[in-house]
């Protein structure tokens, strides 16, 4: 095609992209850099304005020697690791089930979409009610079945409360990853199974050598995405425990929010946010690297 035509396309491309790029610079790129700057400052509210004072890496030093941060950091790692392993394995089972001829009915897809679509806060109050110590259905069922002998205060004990939040988050997270893996399963060409059968592979061998290999990329992507989401968890903590009992359910994202907007220590909160940001940035890089090789298909 003519050069003039291509030039026109290029010009239009720039005009079409420009507004989005400008908006994203204002609401994403600028804040990211501003947040890095803030983390090296002591920021105080002074009447109407702010006082900012450069203090170098003092915020980071005090973070790393702070006990609350250390335990929030470890808990976040624990939370993320368990959540990723649990969601990936349960989602894989669910995806295999829904890919089975009997499970392919659209009814099951609808069922799967419901927990995903629930608003996170609605989900949080729902679980808060289920876990309720006096009238919660969980206590009632377990007590009636004789599994527990007295009602448990699910959100009242440090270690238990964290795991109950984890459980609710896992329930909410399974549908999306299942859908993702299901899409992956459907991308595995059927002839691979036929070939494996011809070679005498049994069901288990087919699973290991065809299904699992074919799902490698979706599984890795799920692990990366789910780690990012697990590190971001906020709504559930806010509604279920607000970090109690004794700060035992304070995870990094919640801590950064609390330091900034409750304790108004803006520089300190920004520093925590940036540490979280670094952790997630590494995961994001991993995600992009996994997708990159496929990018070559794009150009014409």
């Amino acid at each position: 095609m003519s050069n003039e035509f291509n030039l026109k396309r290029k010009q239009m491309g720039i005009w079409f992209t420009l507004p989005t790029v400008i908006i994203l610079i204002l609401v994403l790129i600028y804040p990211i850099f501003a947040s890095i700057v803030l983390s090296f400052q002591k920021v105080r509210f002074l009447g109407q304005g702010l006082s900012k004072e450069f203090i170098g890496i003092a915020n980071y030093i005090s973070i790393f020697s702070n006990h609350t941060f250390q335990s929030a950091f470890i808990r976040s790692i624990y939370f993320t690791a368990i959540e990723v392993v649990a969601i990936l394995s349960l989602s894989l089972l669910a995806a295999l089930l829904l890919n089975h001829p009997i499970g392919r009915h659209s009814f099951f897809r609808v069922v799967l979409i419901i927990p995903w679509a629930l608003s996170p806060v609605a989900n949080a109050v729902l679980w808060k009610w289920i876990y309720n110590a006096n009238y919660g259905i969980l206590n009632f069922i377990l007590y009636s079945l004789g599994i527990i002998h007295e009602y448990v205060v699910w959100l009242g004990k440090p270690w238990l409360a964290l795991n109950m939040i984890l459980l609710a988050d896992i329930w909410k997270g399974i549908p999306f990853i299942t859908l993702l893996l299901l899409a992956g399963l459907q991308n595995i060409p059927n002839y691979l199974y036929r070939a494996a059968k011809l070679d005498g592979a049994n069901t288990w061998q087919q699973f290991v050598h065809v299904t699992f290999v074919g799902l490698k990329t979706p599984l890795v992507i799920s692990a990366v995405l789910q780690s990012i989401w697990a590190l971001k968890v906020f709504d559930l903590i806010y509604v279920l425990t607000k970090g109690s009992p004794a700060d035992s359910t304070v995870l990094l994202n919640y801590l950064a929010w609390r330091e900034t907007f409750s304790n108004l220590d803006i520089g300190y909160g920004a520093a925590i946010a940036n540490i979280l940001f670094c952790m997630m940035f590494l995961l994001a890089l991993a995600y992009i690297r996994i997708l990159r090789p496929r990018q070559t298909r794009r150009g014409e």
Partner: protein, 278 residues
């Protein structure tokens, strides 16, 4: 023997499916039942499921205009609607340009968009909060919409770009041969075939902004209380009215769940698979 084994296998699959449906739906159904029971039935020693107890009273009470929820639903609707419209307008243009027009550094822009999807909201929330305070945009619809664009706009660009790539290039080439300018091609060829996807992307953007909580709690106070905040407030009260709390949760979730079910095919194709296939 073979048939016997097969029958056992299919029975096992059916059993698993049953458990699967139970696990997905039981909490939701329990929430629905709760929302239809009065406080007294919910706080008795044994939950009282007597059919005579079932009532819509909780719904009537929480929808009373003097309560926070009604205003919350209205605010959520306005914010989600305008966020979606703005994001669709700019995002689909950018998506088309990045997919089809020779934008300089288009790969860099795309990778940046993808990477920004993975930042924790708190990083941008702090400087945005300070900026919004300076411009007096805290607790305003406009302020919240601007902040929501930070995560909705990238999603829209990404989904739309994937979609525009799937339109056959020949369609556009033949329009060009017939002498159409790039803008005319976009206006008369590409846009009309894209309307259903645009709408579905809009629905997706709407769902995401409707469900948002984190930015809302930072950027709003009393004027622009969105529905998720109105619901969360129930759980913080001294004496929680469980039935009303769940009724509010149902009211805020129902439109979204219905939309998600109606558009599930699109969500599957456009978003879920988009996460795997860049």
């Amino acid at each position: 023997m073979f048939y016997f084994k097969r029958a056992i296998g299919s029975l096992f699959i059916r059993l698993c499916l049953f458990v699967f449906v139970g696990v997905c739906l039981a909490p939701v159904l329990w929430g629905l039942v709760t929302s239809c029971l009065p406080q007294s039935a919910l706080t008795s020693k044994v939950p009282d499921f007597n059919l005579r107890n079932f009532t819509l009273e909780n719904y009537v009470l929480v929808l009373d205009s003097s309560r926070g929820l009604f205003l919350g639903l209205k605010n959520s609707f306005l914010v989600a609607l305008f966020t979606s419209i703005v994001a669709l307008t700019f995002g689909s243009a950018a998506g088309y340009a990045l997919a089809r027009l020779n934008v300089p550094k288009s790969n860099t822009i795309l990778m940046m968009i993808l990477a920004t999807q993975m930042f924790p909201g708190i990083v941008i929330a702090i400087p945005l909060f300070l900026a919004m305070t300076q411009f007096n945009l805290i607790d305003t619809h406009v302020g919240l919409i601007i902040v929501y664009l930070s995560f909705i706009l990238p999603i829209v660009v990404w989904i739309q770009k994937g979609f525009f790539e799937s339109i056959p290039m020949d369609l556009e080439k033949s329009a060009a041969v017939d002498g159409a300018s790039p803008l005319q091609t976009f206006q008369y060829i590409v846009l009309p075939v894209s309307l259903p996807t645009l709408f579905a992307t809009g629905v997706f953007a709407f769902i995401e902004s409707w469900n948002e909580f984190f930015f809302a709690i930072i950027m709003t106070r009393v004027n622009v209380k969105v529905s998720s905040i109105a619901i969360a407030e129930f759980s913080g009260q001294y004496q929680t009215l469980y039935g009303q709390m769940l009724a509010s949760a149902v009211l805020a979730s129902l439109p979204i769940v219905v939309l998600a079910i109606l558009f599930r095919k699109f969500i599957l194709e456009g978003f879920v698979e988009g996460a795997v296939k860049a």
